[in-house]
């Protein structure tokens, strides 16, 4: 098959599957959260119904808003969230299917992923500021603070990975997701390094809810404080776009964590191809296993954390990320760095 054809199939299937799984993920998340709170919860299809209904609803644009920013922001958020998912998923899918080609070796650059993580948040901020309501202005300010606070631990993690990749696979590009997927970070690690990776993973446990705007880091939307904050003025299809963007972004962030920390596929673990009844079912098994990993990370880092904590104050959030989470991730980084020397001793 032509490389370009493969690439296009991957992108389109990722987008369609991403939208479907993102909305399904929302439904499952709500169901699990309801179970934690001993409720019944909405049906799992609720995410799709919400979206459908929002698409049909009237869209109101506030009179004193900057119209083009207000209307453009949801689209930017949606497009960049979709891009984020594509950039994370396509290299990983290539790795899973075992399709190797020099054209894809550089695909899914970490630095680009970090920027793509930022853009939906910036679009939200711009939309909130342009709405011209004091509540959404406060929400935008808060979103910016959360955005900036999570940057350092995120960057530290990425650099740690790049350094490790340059040691594990010197012939491959260090900042590529494909490299990270094909060389699990746990490989060739001493005890100090493993501890370091665990520290980085635990930092990510809190970065995921912060990136996706879930309790305890949903200050920007804080329902009881500023009445949905930066989404306060959004309605109808623009709100639907933001919801879809959020669903895609949640899936993307969780997929990133899975790709970075737990990239091992079924074939790696079982040590060979999966064959049932003469048919090679490795690829479907790999995808199922990946979805299982995603749902586990999703329910722990989003559903469980969101039901077991109160919303923090914005000053506490910035302190928490800048001091605690940064310290944890930097310690993890240093441990990974000095690990080869300890091993050599």
């Amino acid at each position: 098959m032509n490389e370009l054809t493969v690439f296009l199939i991957m992108v389109i299937s990722t987008l369609i599957g991403g939208i479907y799984l993102g909305l399904l993920g929302r439904g499952i998340d709500r169901k699990i959260a309801a179970k934690f709170q001993s409720r019944i919860g909405p049906p799992i299809r609720q995410g799709f119904w919400d979206l459908k209904k929002l698409m049909l609803k009237q869209t109101i644009v506030p009179e004193n808003s900057i119209t083009w920013v207000f209307k453009g922001a949801p689209l930017v958020a949606l497009v960049t969230s979709a891009m984020l998912l594509v950039y994370i998923m396509v290299p990983y899918l290539l790795y899973l299917t075992g399709y190797e080609s020099p054209m894809f070796a550089h695909m899914g650059d970490f630095i680009l992923v970090i920027y793509l993580l930022m853009i939906p948040a910036i679009a939200l901020v711009a939309g909130g500021f342009s709405a011209g309501s004091p509540l959404s202005t406060i929400g935008s300010q808060r979103e910016m603070v959360v955005l900036m606070a999570t940057e350092l631990p995120l960057a530290v993690t990425v650099i740690a990975f790049a350094v490790k990749m340059s040691v594990l696979a010197p012939s491959m590009p260090s900042f590529s997701i494909f490299t990270a997927a094909s060389n699990p970070v746990w490989n060739g690690m001493g005890p100090a390094g493993i501890l370091g990776v665990i520290l980085l993973a635990s930092a990510f446990l809190f970065i995921i809810p912060a990136e996706t705007g879930k309790i305890p880091f949903d200050q920007a939307e804080a329902e009881t404080e500023i009445a949905e904050g930066l989404l306060a003025e959004y309605s109808g299809k623009y709100l639907a776009f933001f919801q879809l963007a959020e669903a895609l972004k949640s899936l993307g962030v969780v997929a990133l964590v899975v790709v970075l920390f737990f990239p091992q596929g079924v074939s790696t673990i079982m040590g060979g191809q999966m064959i049932a009844g003469g048919i090679n079912i490795t690829v479907p098994c790999e995808i199922m296993f990946f979805l299982l990993k995603v749902s586990v990370v999703y329910s722990v880092s989003i559903s469980f954390i969101r039901v077991s904590m109160a919303r923090l104050k914005i000053s506490q959030v910035s302190k928490f990320f800048i001091y605690s989470v940064s310290a944890v991730s930097i310690t993890g980084f240093i441990l990974i760095m000095i690990d080869p020397r300890i091993m050599a001793m």
Partner: protein, 409 residues
């Protein structure tokens, strides 16, 4: 600092954090609140006025609907006031039953408050947990009185239903359920990290301020002010309980700061206290009648012959509620004055909001357990709807109204 621009943030009358309409205007600098202004009067229903057209028995059920949560406190204070005026002696058993119903109501009110406060800080699981726990006391009240919210248990001169047989068993079961659950509940409410982060050193009302601003109920007690009508004033079965006292954070060996955490401490301890009081009442309940005069029409006729005024004070879940009634040889009272606990606590919001962050607004606002419907007793119907009245003017208006009542208008 001085040239920083501040802006006004208006919260209310309708807002997701508010269960009842009240409007705040905050002067905000970034995330910090510089000044708070409170505007009330959105739920004025003229209950005091309507009371004057109802007879004494009808008023009980009207006053029950001042507030859904204090639906025993208001009738209790009213019945005490009328009994005080007409010198009706309440049978001992009725006093105990009144105490039990009042304490069950306090239990449910404090659990409800815990849920609301948890929701305000975004801790929805605790909200569902406490409300789930609260279901048991609601079920118990349903067994006792036949309804979950408006109990209709009190009548002038006693209570309407007895606690015997299966009903008594249900109460004992409820007491046991809460005694078993208490340690877990206390641990969750007082030791949860994220909850402590949000509530400690937030919304401080110092001892002096509480004293000066006449705070009542758990709000005052959290500031170290040992003030509890149950302990200070002989009503119901409370004088019979030797160990009853006002609960302050000192009881857990904590110096009262007057922050929201202290208010949680006081309320959680009061849950235990209420359970103990109910157990005491169940064990020591005397026999006898439950009502001085069971026939409602006879009571009305009896009160028709009275010309007196009476005052009733009762410690509701939110603080002291007092009623003042004027009886004047009539089927209806000529004056009913309701003073709800929130009315005394509203003004303590102002020092609490000083130096708070925007994120603290909902939790500070709910920390006094406000009942806006309870305290909206006056409203301007003329002019633009908003008017500032000076102390002198207000005094004059009050005296005019009093004279009107005296003249029997």
């Amino acid at each position: 600092m001085s040239n920083k621009e501040t802006y006004k943030l208006q919260i209310g009358p309708t807002h997701p954090a508010f269960k009842e309409p009240v409007r705040f205007e905050f002067e905000v600098d970034g995330e910090h609140v510089l000044h708070a202004d409170i505007d009330m009067g959105y739920t004025h229903r003229g209950i005091e006025h309507v009371s004057k057209e109802r007879n004494f028995i009808q008023i009980i059920y009207l006053l029950e609907r001042i507030c859904g949560i204090c639906s025993t406190s208001h009738p209790m204070a009213y019945c005490l006031a009328v009994e005080n005026a007409a010198e009706i002696e309440v049978p001992a058993r009725a006093k105990y039953i009144r105490t039990i119903v009042g304490e069950l109501e306090r239990l449910h009110s404090h659990l409800l408050w815990a849920g609301v406060a948890a929701h305000e800080v975004g801790f929805d699981t605790l909200f569902y947990t406490t409300w789930d726990i609260r279901e048991k006391v609601m079920d118990c009240l349903e067994v006792i009185s036949g309804n979950r919210v408006n109990y209709a248990m009190l009548t002038i001169g006693g209570v309407r239903r007895d606690i015997i047989g299966e009903v008594a068993e249900a109460v004992n079961k409820t007491v046991e359920y809460y005694s078993d659950l208490y340690s877990q509940l206390e641990d969750i409410m007082l030791n949860d990290m994220s909850l402590r982060l949000r509530t400690e050193n937030v919304g401080i009302l110092t001892y002096d301020e509480a004293l000066k601003l006449c705070a009542v109920g758990p709000t005052a007690r959290a500031s170290g002010l040992a003030k509890d009508v149950r302990a200070d004033y002989a009503v119901n079965a409370y004088p019979d309980i030797p160990w009853l006292k006002a609960i302050t954070p000192n009881d857990v060996g904590k110096k009262p700061v007057g922050d929201i955490y202290d208010r949680i401490v006081v309320r959680v301890l009061e849950i235990k206290q209420s359970v103990d009081i109910i157990r005491f009442c169940m064990e020591n309940m005397p026999g006898g009648e439950i009502v001085a005069e069971p026939k409602a029409v006879k009571v009305i006729n009896q009160l028709k012959k009275v010309k007196a005024h009476g005052i009733g004070r009762y410690e509701g879940p939110r603080g002291e509620v007092s009623h003042y009634d004027i009886l004047d040889n009539n089927e209806c009272p000529v004056g009913v004055k309701v003073k709800a606990p929130t009315y005394s606590n509203i003004i303590s919001w102002v020092p609490m909001f000083r130096g708070a962050e925007i994120a603290d607004i909902p939790i500070i606002m709910s920390s006094i357990d406000p009942c806006i419907a309870c305290s909206d007793r006056a409203s301007f119907v003329e002019g633009e709807g908003k008017k500032t009245v000076s102390f002198g003017e207000l005094r004059k208006l009050s005296m005019e109204k009093m004279n009107k009542i005296r003249r029997g208008l």
